[in-house]
């Protein structure tokens, strides 16, 4: 749960309240919504590191690929747990 997941920020959804600011990311063919509450400088097209659903830093594309490869190889992607369906 400690390692950030690298992803590309596709779009930003503006919210009325900064704590609810979100964006769509894609990584390894999966896309999901993450919080941008703590990364106001991120722009669509940027690569970001996401921790537990929160984007925390902007990184280079190369770094994103490096981290992604690392996670994939070490089996961390499964461990980070893509969410289960129901209650």
């Amino acid at each position: 749960m400690c390692l950030g997941i690298p992803a590309k920020l596709e779009t930003i959804d503006e919210a009325s309240d900064e704590f609810f600011r979100t964006g769509k990311i894609s990584f390894g063919g999966i896309s999901r919504t993450v919080s941008l509450a703590m990364l106001s400088e991120a722009q669509p097209g940027d690569y970001v590191l996401v921790h537990a659903g929160i984007a925390l830093s902007v990184i280079s594309e190369e770094e994103a690929r490096t981290v992604f490869e690392y996670l994939k190889e070490s089996g961390e992607l499964e461990e980070e747990g893509l969410p289960e369906e129901d209650i």
Binding site: L56, T66, V67, G75, E80, I87
Partner: protein
Amino acid sequence: MKYLSEYRNAAVVKKLLTELQAIVTQPWMLMEICGGQTHSLVKNGILEMLPPEVTMVHGPGCPVCVTPASMIDKAVALAMRQEVVLCSFGDMVRVPGSRKSLQQARSEGGNLKIVYSPLDAVKLAQEHPEKEVIFFAVGFETTAPANALAVLQAAKQGLTNFSVLVSHVLVPPAMEAILSDRFNNINAFLGAGHVCTVMGLQEYYALAQKYRVPVVVTGFEPVDLLEGILLAVRQLETGRAAVENQYARVVRESGNEAAQAVIREVFEVADREWRGIGLIPQSGYRVREQYRQFDAEQKFGESAEVLFSETDTGCIAGEILRGLKKPAQCPHFGKACTPLYPLGAPMVSSEGACAAYFHFSQACEVTASPH
């Protein structure tokens, strides 16, 4: 096509090793804090490549490993309540409590849901007003922003059926506890890159100075780790004890200030019990009084019964997490204790030192014996 970054280039690795060999003149013991780094060091065979003078020991930086059994017990007790949906990160569910893990609780009718983010749990609470949704908020500084934001969002939405069961721990107080232990023989630390993404480097300066110990914030790739080790050994050999940032391509000096502000808003620093280590003063977070209605412990007053002691099973996790012993020195390692049937937490998560060594020794046996 496989992407091979410069951070695992064999020629660069070799060059760094040669440089390390050239400067090292005496034995040094280094500790990497982060379980992700432990995993990478073991998996990439870096421990075997190092000059004999340089020993790496593995620190307490695996949140799964240090969450006390008593907190698992609380989570289990809450999950068994009829109205509760207990949400957790996936890697916590197999960790043994004093009597059972969350997974066992689920098989006995407990309501457990694995989520990727605490914000998913907030959403669940919103969609199911008839349920009490509790998020098991564990982890180091990396998960604290998400857990704090979940509380803020729930507060702003006026949710009354969401709370967090907090077992948050912090890296610098653990380093200090290790350094002030009278058996300590750690000469330098590799700092956890992703923790510093959030908190920055500020907290390490006082530590480096007070204990005369180099701290090198380091990434996860083989080249990162070797470079981190080289920087630390160079400091030791030249009598310096400074904070250096090997991972500057991701970690900024001041960290993520917006995240720090959100954490400060919701949490305050408090004493915490670490599994296998014991109580460390001012080493974690608890929910501030102002947000107490979102604190599951306040809300449900659930108290754990028997406190589990690691010695009951002969698990030596405490000594491993403090860098005093290696997994192979545990009599249960690979025998009574395997990732499938873990006796202690360091065997559960791939970030745990015991699991990392177990997987690696398996891989070695396969390559060593062709039959």
